[in-house]
Symmetry: C2
Subunit: 257 residues, 2 copies
């Protein structure tokens, strides 16, 4: 009963990487075998779980090249049961190469993940801030998409386009694709704008919007500089508690447990 979930939103800086890392780490802590795939040439998810660029281990670019199995591309992390397929700047080349590839360019990642996915309970894919070929590959490969929505005005603007793109993929290369849910991030309960954005998102997406809200919490932005997810960096923080709640809600919505 493996599941592949993409964390995506073309708006920049909304908490995709922070959600991908911490959801994946919490799922591993709940004893689910979890693989985090960094599909962003920025490589933030990779450094956020302690991967070092000079380690020489395989990357997502190597995986997309087709010479490596998923198992061979995965590296261990600081968290038991959490592995990562890391990214570096080579991956930026893949975006252009994928566009020039022509027919079948959308299904490359899917064909690499599907045969090997049963080694994990969850595969979490961190997407770059765009709707280009890397993100389209993630949508085609995934069972569902989790959408972080920053509690800010601009974050609302892009949702319609994101949903259109998801529907496009659903009609063409991935009929069973669905929306895992929307998660409000960097929420500040004292701030009017935050409350307004939350109200608007819950009104438009009453079922899909997660009950769990991720608050703005400085410990979440400190953790990556130590190469650690929040549950190993500071498990007592509000940031850690909110991602533990998120992982629990995610599993209940997914498995009904």
């Amino acid at each position: 009963m493996s599941r592949i979930v993409a964390i995506a939103n073309q708006k920049g800086g909304v908490g995709k990487t922070t959600t991908a890392i911490n959801l994946a780490a919490c799922l591993a802590a709940m004893n689910y075998r979890t693989l985090l795939i960094d599909l962003d040439p920025q490589g933030n998810a990779s450094t956020g779980v302690g991967w070092r660029r000079d380690s020489g281990t395989p990357t997502t670019y190597d995986l997309l090249g087709g010479e490596l199995s998923l198992d061979a591309a995965a590296s261990p992390t600081v968290v038991d049961l959490l592995s990562v397929v890391p990214a570096n700047t080579d991956l930026a080349g893949a975006e252009v190469e994928l566009v020039e590839y022509g027919d079948g360019r959308e299904i490359i990642l899917r064909d690499l993940l599907r045969p090997a996915m049963n080694a994990w309970d969850y595969i979490i894919i961190d997407c770059p801030p765009s709707l280009g070929m890397l993100t389209i590959n993630a949508f085609t490969a995934s069972d569902s998409i989790l959408i972080p929505v920053q509690a800010e005005y601009y974050a609302l603007e892009g949702l319609a386009r994101l949903l259109d793109t998801i529907n496009l993929v659903k009609r063409s290369t991935n009929r069973s694709l669905r929306i895992e849910g929307l998660v409000l991030t960097m929420h500040d309960a004292r701030n009017n704008l935050s409350r307004q954005v939350e109200a608007e998102v819950r009104e438009h997406f009453p079922q899909a919007t997660y009950t769990t809200v991720i608050p703005r919490n400085v410990r979440l932005s400190e953790a990556p500089s130590f190469g650690e997810p929040i549950i190993t960096y500071d498990v007592t923080s509000r940031g850690a508690r909110s991602y533990i709640d998120l992982a629990r809600e995610f599993v209940v919505r997914d498995r009904g447990e």
Copy 2:
């Protein structure tokens, strides 16, 4: 003495659009004829100066198509002396079309701006969160690049790759390209991480880092929902004062006045 300046950083959510809008608006308020070009398919800079998608006026996609002069593509905004070439989701198609265009794909925007730039004192280009063909076109067309750096750990990670890309363009399609400067954004003086990132940026780029620092200020994130830059939304706010200081420092660095 017209100047074309790109506001760029592939890291998402670092304050590119907020800086592009408010620097451009402040330059217009200082009596410089200013054109804001939205080169991001998200279109945040366009809505941030009050442009409405249903207005039917020309967009950046129309400009890139070559059938419109720069003058014809520019629309007035809520601020005197500030015009905008707005973007909508059509522009997302341009990224793929530019890649497939082949030879000369990097100089399309430059060849559209250069002959017409003298109608403005400053042209400010808001870039998307990527180093793809739209951003490369902006680098090739610009005199200089202003780099917003969010006072967060991940924002430091991407700087090396951004500077490499700038140098690549400088060696190939735009020999006179230079770095206008680095501007710290969303800075919170009470927060250790903010102070550490600032110290690190000033150490690595002592000359290029602007003295003016943009503080985190909720009024800046409220203004776009009213379609206004900060100087018309709330000129008394810390956000407005910091962007007025930024515009003043920008002009002094650029013109020595």
